[in-house]
Amino acid sequence: MASSANKNINAKLVLLGDVGAGKSSLVLRFVKGQFVEFQESTIGAAFFSQTVAVNDATVKFEIWDTAGQERYHSLAPMYYRGAAAAIIVYDITNQASFDRAKKWVQELQAQGNPNMVMALAGNKADMLDGRAVAPEDAQTYAQENGLFFLETSAKTAANVNEIFYEIAKRLPRLQQTPNPSGMVLVDRPTERANSASCCS
């Protein structure tokens, strides 16, 4: 959910995707300009914030970089609840991660914020030799589901800033009242919210 004071917008953004798709790498590239070849698995979710200036506003992203591990799937609503934007990440060299990305899109469509800006990121675009997902397929899928699509590379930084800027531009400019605590609760309760165990 985003909130605006004049032209300052706070936007909660969540990254979702399969293990090893490169969610943390994308965020670290965007927030810190760093890249490490062997990024450790994320535990739970890591929080970052980064501000970008677009034409008419300053957008402060509050970014939740979630863990792709299976045991955290049931906890994902905790992180995407109330998010204004989501980046669903897959690895272009891994078809299974693309299938997993589609599942995340379905879940967000079913349970997330209906006005959420969603981006589909085909990461590891530098690894063309190992490509397993054709960009046309992803583009088609993205159009059908109302996402915008970019192929990114956290390693070379290609399209990384672009995808965040594009989200910043697309965020709705008319905002609800900001929540003082910063935590926005869901409009409609998600039925999975109280499933706190790993595999229920």
Binding site: V36, F38, E40, F47, A67, A196
Partner: protein, 651 residues
Amino acid sequence: MPSDSNSTSSNYSSGRDDENPNSDPNSKPEPQLEPEPEPEPEPEPNKNPHLIDQSLDALENQLASISMSSRSPTVTFEGEEEDDVESREQPKSMNGSFSEEIEAGGDADSLEVGRHFESDSKAESSGVNGENISFTWLDAPEVDEVERPLSPGSSGYAGEMGSTSGGDEIVDDDEDDSDIRGVENDGVLGSNNQSVSGKRHADEDDASVSWRKRKKHFFILSHSGKPIYSRYGDEYKLAGFSATLQAIISFVENGGDRVNLVRAGKHQVVFLVKGPIYLVCISCTEEPYESLKGQLELLYGQMILILTKSVNRCFEKNPKFDMTSLLGGTDAVFSSLIHSLSWNPATFLHAYSCLPLAYATRQAAASILQDVAGSGVLFALLMCKHKVISLVSAQKASLHPDDILLLSNFIMSSESFRTSESFSPICLPRYNPMAFLYAYVHYFDIDTYVVLLTTSSDAFYHLKDCRIRIEIVLSNSNVLSEVQRSLVDGGMRIEDLLVEPTSRAGAVSSHLGQPRPGAGTPGRTADGSIGIGGPAGLWHFVYRSIYLDQYVSSEFSPPINSLRQQKRLYRAYQRLYASMHEKAIGPHKTQFRRDENYVLLCWVTQDFELFAAFDPLADKALAIKVCNRVCQWVKDVENEIFLLGASPFSW
């Protein structure tokens, strides 16, 4: 150590013997370890130990044939071994344990490895080869558990391992916190290879020679025999082996019994059944059964911390459920825990340790944590590496030392927590094994981090605010810089243990880690132990306060230099601990044990447990006197080394 015998034996003629241990003017009505029950008035009992202790020796040797598990691991020296056991050890009760040699057969083959044991221990006790041993620290923290021939340089085994890691060199021996170096190295060199902090030797399976040679295996499997975790080797490749373990367990269970322990030559196979989860340790390290079982309990606790016990429900739905994927990315957590079994006394003492800090500094940290805990935070911990700076619990909640151990291991071994603040579900197995708590984790610097635990999954922004408040207070009151200073200064040094009781009063005022002019050096020379260890040949001690659930361990100093020696000492403490707490005949009050490596003295009262290691030629009466001093010293500085007034069990 034979090489030390000359210098240390001169110890006993140094004239300090005439000081009556009970003439200590500062002696309080506190418990004093009295040397009286000693049947031997001989002034130099070590010159001819066999005369005195023959009967005890004979008894010990008899016992040894019944129970191997409490013996020192060095088999070679058995004839010369000399054990004074005040509280005599009884044969271990084997009730319920399935103690049967595995006869020939496919699996017996895989267990039949530990033949170079004698040569290994010889190399170790000669104290010469320690530094030359090629030591693949990163890849195999337990490397000295792997048999190697007498000449370590020519060890084919080390070469084999060298191919998988660049770090073939032994790591600097002098630091105390070698443990953390392991963790840090994982992080620093993590870019080198992903497997560094993840699965070790994933290419191995039960057919690999190197796999069979590992001295200590840990397995987690499901009740249907599916592998969940293996310390070495790829879980999927070990499916057959895992099924064999499951078959052993269910065979005994079908007979209405339970298998606890199988001995196969030098190997012990320890089983722990936790509902649908089976844990197995196969070890030839001669650790007592109780210790190995406790280690399996910790391993299980670590798994529960990651998944909660409700993972059992997955097995109710589908008995053939494959759990490996649920533990994805946690290999580093388990290997770090297993590694800590050999360097962290918390793993067998079930107590936590605090970073030494001035009382006021710790109070400053405690008061801000207390503020925060009033606002919906269940537990607030400020930690430096694996040591507690301060911790606060909400009313009625209590934090078990094992949970602190597992939590800090989880946080320190997961590199992800260092990149930014994070908010993750974790379960504290001793607090509530069924439910997740939510942990806000933030590193203030490379060593110091705060953990705020809550039951509310919506509390992130609140906890973030709490952290900001904590950070402001900590930096205003210089806590973080004091923490860094304490890391540099270290903890209690045995060299600083004052020999003269009269000068002890001076020690109270000076900071723990500060060199005390005129105290340490003259004490040591008077002692005749030429700069090695503390008074009366004291090498090291561990003091556990029972009431506080905390322990303090002295810094390592010569001759306990190398990681291997430190690990061996901890193993010795572990055996001592197990023998003192043996359920059948314990608990005992005192134990004085002499072997070719150490004199070990253990003293258990209602308030504390003291474990002390001395030069093997140390005099018993002197050693007892020094133990009394150590206890007094600990009391003198207790508000610096312990977290007082915040005992998690005080409710």
